[in-house]
């Protein structure tokens, strides 16, 4: 339970606050329009559909304001930097920005649906009122003209259009109606192209269609124009609706019931969204400036299995372990930025990324690099970042268990290198005395470079007599008969056949009970930090094992599971 509060408490709190604000706005504006005196006559024509349209509009204003903020990644990095005092849990919330963006998007979609349905009803009922389909008061109200000395309530003024087409005509000839249709259409296209299936497989469709948000926001700002939602204004002498509602034929002819006056309010949405729009503009400008900064290639290495390593240098670039950057290569695509976790340590004077062949963009990049002459600089590359909350917690524990599954092994390259550098220079920030590294993958294809890294570390540790600083185990979960036969034949070899490492490859998944027991035995009175970069299912398993094997007794081992989000 305590673990849940530490891992999820702040997120849940933020969500509760956000939902609370949404509910408050909805209820407040619903009651404002449903009970307000100045809307009495409007409500007579529209019923509760007025309030049902205005309440989601308020929630929409709030959420459209919020939606741009989580995607200003440079702004978030700035915030993260200035939060250094406020603890890692606060800063980790900033890593969940995309989840929040999606949540706000769902709310916008839901509220748009409610808002649109309510307005459909509104327009229909305005139309019926205008054509005398309802009671005497409705007809009287609808008949109020838009002239010099009278004001209208019912925004539908023309009656010579075909009755069934009047709503459509009205919507398409008013600013509010037209912008409403256009931005709803933009929203629908954005949503259908953001579905997980499309996003994961056809990223470009998602990315380019998402830019319809520009149309969305432009339309949104003008959507409230036109004074369509109208309320009763004070007249002199005042028009009391309780007194006058049943005497509509006498309006203007008796002193206590002058002709009522109506007016609409100006568009207000821009108050809500102008700030985030400016911030987002600054964000895109910053990304552009960053992109213009020169990035030098220090080294370009082609690893087996089509893995490209780029060692890059940029002025003023400072990174932490476990962070990622966005790369843009105009020679391949002007508009695409792709994220890559950095595999270099902060102690090095360059930063590196290892890029696997995983789609159009990466394939083209690898192709270009393969055709470069020896020693030449690569194509112009824009780098945005670094982003992500650093994983410095790794250095705080005396004993660390690092578990990397599949592609999740990438941030550990950075972490292991950094630990080794800190150890060599006896950095006081490093409390780690022993590391257990578990590498799980289906096959070592595309990770040979990581095996090389482990080999280098292994060698250096042997030279210093620190052979047992790092214990690593590789688990090949996708083995088959040929693997087994191969291993059996080379059983007596000193180094492993698959990786060339001293420690042998295991086949199948690790038996965590055994692993945890081993760690307990070898580190009796220590605090062990467990870090995972891999599937959530494995996270749950490890969390349970940590709980099982931890002992309150300080003379025994204590395990802490860190829910990292690399």
């Amino acid at each position: 339970m305590g673990n849940w509060i530490i891992n999820h408490g702040l997120t849940s709190f933020i969500l509760v606050v956000w939902m609370g604000i949404n509910i408050f706005l909805f209820v407040w504006f619903y009651l404002f329009y449903d009970l307000g005196d100045s809307y009495y006559y409007t409500r007579h024509l529209l019923g509760s559909a007025l309030a049902w349209a205005r309440a989601p509009a308020a929630v929409l204003n709030f959420n459209c304001m919020l939606i741009l903020l989580p995607v200003c990644r440079n702004l978030l990095s700035l915030l993260r930097g200035s939060f250094v005092c406020c603890g890692r849990t606060m800063r980790k919330q900033l890593d969940k920005n995309l989840s929040f963006h999606k949540l706000v998007a769902y709310m916008i979609a839901l509220m748009t649906a409610v808002h649109m349905i309510a307005h459909l009803l509104n327009v229909e009922w305005y139309n019926n009122s205008r054509r005398g389909g309802y009671d005497k008061l409705s007809t009287a109200l609808s008949n109020l003209e838009d002239t010099d000395n009278t004001t209208y309530l019912n925004p539908i003024r023309k009656t010579d259009v075909d009755a069934q087409q009047t709503p459509t005509y009205f919507v398409f000839t008013t600013i509010a109606g037209l912008t409403g249709v256009i931005i709803t259409l933009a929203l629908i296209l954005i949503i259908t192209s953001s579905m997980e299936v499309i996003r994961r497989s056809y990223f470009e469709v998602f990315w380019y269609t998402h830019h319809l948000f520009v149309i969305f926001f432009a339309g949104l700002v003008f959507h409230g124009a036109g004074f369509i939602v109208r309320k009763q204004l004070t007249t002199d002498p005042p028009h009391n609706y309780t007194l006058c509602k049943d005497r509509s034929e006498e309006w203007g002819r008796i002193p206590e019931c002058p002709i009522p006056k109506f007016g609409g309010g100006p568009a207000q949405t821009w108050w809500w969204v102008i700030g985030p729009m400016v911030l987002y503009l600054c964000e895109r400008l910053l990304r552009f400036i960053r992109y213009m900064q020169t990035v030098q290639y220090r080294k370009i290495v082609m690893h087996p299995s089509k893995v490209l390593e780029l060692q890059l240098v940029r002025d003023g670039f400072k990174m932490e372990v476990g962070q990622y950057v966005f790369l843009n290569c105009p020679a391949i695509s002007q508009l695409e930025w792709h994220p890559f976790t950095m595999t270099s340590a902060p102690e090095e004077d360059f930063f590196s990324v290892h890029i696997r062949s995983a789609g159009d963009w990466t394939d083209r990049l690898i192709d270009i690099m393969q055709h470069l002459p020896e020693g030449a600089q690569g194509p112009k590359m824009g780098v945005d970042g670094p982003f992500g909350t650093a994983s410095e917690d790794v250095f705080d524990y005396e004993v660390s268990m690092l578990v990397g599954a599949g592609i999740g092994v990438t941030p550990f390259a950075s972490i292991l290198k950094s630990i080794w550098y800190k150890f060599k220079t006896s950095n006081p920030n490093l409390h780690t005395r022993k590391i257990y590294f578990y590498w799980l993958c289906r096959e070592t294809h595309a990770f040979e470079w990581f095996a090389d890294l482990l080999q280098v570390l292994e060698r250096e540790m042997e030279e210093r007599g620190m052979g047992d600083f790092l214990t690593y185990k590789l688990y090949l979960t996708g083995w088959d008969q040929s693997h087994a036969t191969h291993a059996w034949v080379h059983f007596d070899d000193d180094t492993d056949v698959v990786t060339g490492l001293k420690q042998k490859t295991h086949y199948g998944r690790p038996v965590w009970d055994k692993e945890f027991e081993q760690v307990c035995k070898e580190n009796p009175a220590s605090t062990v930090g467990t870090f995972l970069c891999g599937p959530a299912v494995l996270g749950k398993v490890l969390e349970k094992k940590c709980a099982n094997f931890s002992d309150v007794d300080p003379r025994k081992t204590r395990f802490y599971f860190n829910k990292e989000n690399f």
Partner: protein, 184 residues
């Protein structure tokens, strides 16, 4: 954008359009709008489009992710053969279905969305895509290798019983030489 299968996006768009048509139609009928007959049509058309578009097609490249419970819909849609396989037919069908919905405000959004879906399907059809059902893979029955079928008929060769009997009086001589050397 070379590897895009437009049909995947067209499918999402068409499914969304079906739902929007359905919703607009329900509002039109429930609110007893003028021209509610068009809304009633939109309910039917929307439901039909949803049923047609629910089963996802199998992708030509990569893993296809099914929608929950789509198997029965896949079977139904598959049974129409070339009518549902061909995307030109779908493009034309969606375009035709969307037209009547344009005559009522409540359904006009569904009409436009379905029209857009129709255009994307047209693009997919021009690029030669077609609908493939996602069917469960038949389990491959692993046949045991031939050698397993013919176990040895004869016992392994052994020396005659006299030499096999353990000679306790002469243990040194009891150990017999292997005809083929074993080990280094």
């Amino acid at each position: 954008m070379g590897k895009i299968e437009w049909a995947m996006w067209a499918n999402e768009q068409a499914l969304a359009s079906g739902l929007i048509l359905l919703t607009g139609g329900i509002v039109g009928v429930a609110g007893q709008f003028r021209g509610w007959q068009f809304a009633a049509y939109a309910i039917a058309a929307g439901a039909f489009v949803c049923l047609l578009e629910y089963p996802r097609s199998k992708r030509t490249k990569g893993t296809s992710v099914e929608r929950t419970g789509q198997y029965c819909f896949t079977v139904c849609v598959k049974s129409f053969g070339p009518l549902t396989r061909n995307y030109y037919v779908r493009a034309f069908l969606h375009a035709a279905l969307s037209v009547p919905a344009g005559f009522l405000l409540a359904t006009v959004l569904g009409c436009v969305c379905l029209g857009i879906a129709s255009l994307i399907y047209l693009a997919a059809a021009i690029r030669g895509e077609h609908w493939e059902p996602i069917l469960p893979k038949k389990e491959m029955v692993r046949k045991p290798d031939d050698s397993m079928k013919n176990p040895p008929q004869n016992p392994p060769p052994r020396p005659p019983p006299e030499t096999r009997r353990k000679r306790v009086d002469d243990l040194e001589g009891a150990a017999y030489d292997n005809p083929i050397p074993v080990g280094e």
